[in-house]
Amino acid sequence: MIAEKPVVASPPERRFWQIFVKFRETGIIIFIVLLSVLVTLRNSAFLSADNFRDILLNISILIIVALAQTMVIITRGIDLSVGSMIGLTAMMVSYTVTGLPGMPVFLAIPLGMALGAVLGSLNGLIIAVGGVPPIIATLGMLSIYRGLIFFYSNGKWINAFEFPPEFRELAKGTPLGIPNLILFAIAVIIAVFFFLKYTRRGRDIYAVGSNPDAARFAGIQIKQTIFTVYMISGILCGLAGVLWASRFESAQTNTALGFELQTVAAPVVGGVNIFGGSGNVLGVVLGGFLLGIINNSLTLVQISPFWQLAAQGLLILLAVVVDSFILRRLKRFSSKRKR
């Protein structure tokens, strides 16, 4: 009996889209290069080592938190409370550091991360065990954690002169020639890359996001996996909180207010599928880069900061539209066949 296979659309065209998807990262790089060229033409200050360092400093915290957000997104979730977690840990650690002058300043890092772990775990419990949809749960915690900042600080801010000078060095010190903040970001990038690619728990994250039912039948511990990504989100937000306070030498009640938008924009622009199941570290880093360059260039060409928000929003939309267009095209290739 002669076999009859469903015919898929003309191979060359389909291949093009497949290659496009694979090299989405290349597309972003090209876009970054183009943008950089355009901006340099407008203001040559863009292409200076100082400016470059500024951009890196500006996106370091973003990338740390965006990587956390990425892992959450891959599991088909979202963490809208990241801004509040950063603010709360920044405030609490700052209070501790300024209130205990004898404390070795570097302990602020593990302290922040531990606090973040508690906050993130709470999210994880509500979502993984309580079954509350992530968007609702983290939206609620966004407000609760932000409220706790006021509660904890009585509305008072902590200002630069109150911090011990060593605290500033946590983020801005350059014992290795490069600001610590950037080194922290690099460390997190490497750690998350390794986690997602080379550990079983990391691979479980992709499985759970790609097909939760199949994951259940494959015996993957779904609840634990989901709990883990929110806890990690908390830990990385705790780290970000300490670094934020250190970099800006202040802890305010509105620290990181609204920051969550950027932490979703960077991954989405970088190719992480907002519906879950796929995404990689390189894309997130590039996405963060793109956002950083846009913010930087808008300032350099003297466009109002209000446009930055609009630019971010537009980028997210563009990225998602392009991605879903590609996905729909690919799907049509496998379903538009002779029946």
């Binding site: 002669i2 296979k5 469903p6 015919v7 390794f194 690619k197 992709y206 015996g219 993957i220 599928n273």
Partner: protein, 497 residues
């Protein structure tokens, strides 16, 4: 087959109830290594529940499972898997974003000191794929595979966990004839290497081809276990439905009336070309062919879903352009689609809402819906088709496949069509409902409806059609009357260029 070895898995006196419904009642079942054991039964007979208990998805209310002679209890799917029991379902369930290798090894990726050993994973996956005759790159993402390929990947997964028991639930319903042959070759391979295989299929011819023994369930109870070589189709049917269906395809002879549908040189670019035929009142025109031949494309062109790019359609002598389903319905054409879950029903809505959906305007005055009249109309429709339900308010997603199909039919009958297109009307449906649907088709034809029936089951095409068209690769390759058609002629026109 080895009668002296212990069965790999054996269940004794298993009962299970869901809510008030007794899904399994005191059922015994066993499978030996190196045998293909078919599990037969109508929809709702308890096959799925039995599988869920064997794979650890559900726990029995009473009774005992034995694995290689030892009493055992599977608390979850992981436990069953560790014992090498795994199942493959009709719809493959892979991780679309992950590559083949990871799909095979998910949760059990090979590790080395630095973490996941990707190189080894691709190597092992490559070996397994070769063994199954698949020449695919293990780095391919699962979403790019065809259904048949995805199923083979699931089998590769079963191989990689050294499955002792492989349960296959309706694995052939989405496969072409060639793919079925390939699948059976692999099943025979597995059998030869000692795997026990539980095979569920509604296609009795397949069971005769591949199975060694067959166990029948009816209404949750165990009926009998027979050797495939010592049983006839009629006996199997009798075991399944409790009575002999003396005529599975009761198509009455009806004097065909005037031409309702005439199609001339119809083409849809990329799908089919130059299809011409006539269909009269009271006639059932069967369309045979292999999957992918273009028959559904023809139906979708007539119904306006993927309109024709060239050619003429005439209804009752008048040339018409059908470029949308609304236009088709306006012209009194109905289409029962191939995929009832995706295209035929709104699973989350009630039976009543589904049935009245196309004609809902009839029950509304100034857009205000008269729910009572709507429910009554739905009730009449479902009673006519004998839908087994808890009431017209029940969510259609909860019904069995056969009853869902009846709801789809009731819906289209409610539009009072003059031309009804049925695309695989009895796919995935138990024998009892199948006979009911055929009886209905016969009655409708007797009342003057023109019916175009697409079917991949040759016995159905031969038994139900007055005339038969055969398509292959987008072309019409044969036209036969019921008298002159034979399975060989149909297959020849369908498969040989």
């Amino acid at each position: 087959m080895t009668a002296d070895k212990a069965p790999v898995i054996k269940i004794e006196h298993i009962s299970k109830a869901f809510g008030g419904i007794q899904a399994l009642k005191d059922v015994n079942f066993e499978v030996y290594p190196g045998e293909v054991h078919a599990l037969l039964g109508e929809n709702g007979a308890g096959k799925s529940t039995l599988i869920k208990i064997m794979t650890g998805v559900e726990q029995p209310d009473s009774g005992q499972l034995f694995f290689e002679g030892q009493p055992i209890h599977f608390a979850n799917t992981r436990a069953a898997q560790t014992h090498g029991i795994t199942a493959i379902y009709q719809e493959p369930s892979l991780f679309p974003d992950l590559d083949i290798a990871e799909n095979i090894m998910v949760g059990r990726q090979p590790m080395r000191r630095g973490g996941v050993d990707w190189k080894k994973m691709y190597q092992e996956a490559g070996t397994l794929l070769k063994r199954l005759g698949l020449s695919l790159d293990p780095r391919t993402k699962a979403r790019e595979l065809s259904v048949a390929q995805q199923q083979l990947v699931e089998i590769a997964r079963a191989l990689s966990i050294n499955a002792r028991v492989l349960i296959m639930d309706e694995p052939t319903s989405s496969l072409t004839q060639g793919e079925v042959e390939e699948l059976f070759a692999i099943v025979r391979q597995l059998r030869a290497s000692g795997t026990a295989i539980v095979f569920i299929s509604h296609r009795l011819e397949e069971l005769f081809e591949i199975a060694d023994r067959v166990t029948t369930l009816r209404d949750g109870s165990y009926v009998d276990t027979r050797s495939m070589t010592a049983v006839t189709t009629d006996e199997l049917i009798r075991m399944m439905v409790g009575r002999s269906l003396d005529q599975l395809f009761p198509k009455q002879d009806v004097k065909a009336g005037e031409v309702v549908l005439e199609v001339e040189n119809l083409s849809v670019e990329g799908a089919f070309s130059n299809v011409s035929f006539k269909l009269r009142r009271g006639e059932i025109l069967g369309m045979a062919g292999l999957i992918g031949a273009g028959r559904t494309n023809v139906a979708r062109a007539i119904f306006g879903i993927e309109p024709a790019t060239s050619g003429i359609i005439k209804l009752n002598g008048q040339v018409v352009t059908i470029n949308s389903p609304e236009k088709a319905m306006h012209l009194k054409i109905g289409y029962v689609p191939e995929d009832r879950k995706e295209h035929g029903l709104v699973l989350a809505m009630s039976i009543a809402n589904n049935i009245t959906l196309p004609v809902i305007a009839k029950f509304a005055r100034f857009s205000w819906l008269n729910k009572k009249r709507e429910a009554q109309a739905a009730r009449d429709g479902s009673v006519q088709l004998e839908v087994k339900m808890a009431g017209v308010g029940q969510k259609v997603g909860q019904l069995s496949g056969g009853n869902q199909q009846k709801v789809v039919l009731a819906k289209w009958l409610g539009t009072k069509p003059r031309l009804l297109i049925l695309d695989e009307p009895t796919r995935g449906i138990d024998v009892g409902t199948k006979a009911a649907v055929h009886r209905l088709m016969s009655e409708l034809a007797a009342q003057g409806m023109a019916i175009l029936m697409i079917s991949s089951e040759l016995p159905e095409v031969l038994g139900m059609s007055d005339r038969i068209l055969v398509m292959r690769a987008g072309q019409l390759t044969g036209e036969f009357s019921r008298a002159e058609a034979t399975p060989e002629k149909l297959m020849a026109a369908a498969a040989i260029a």
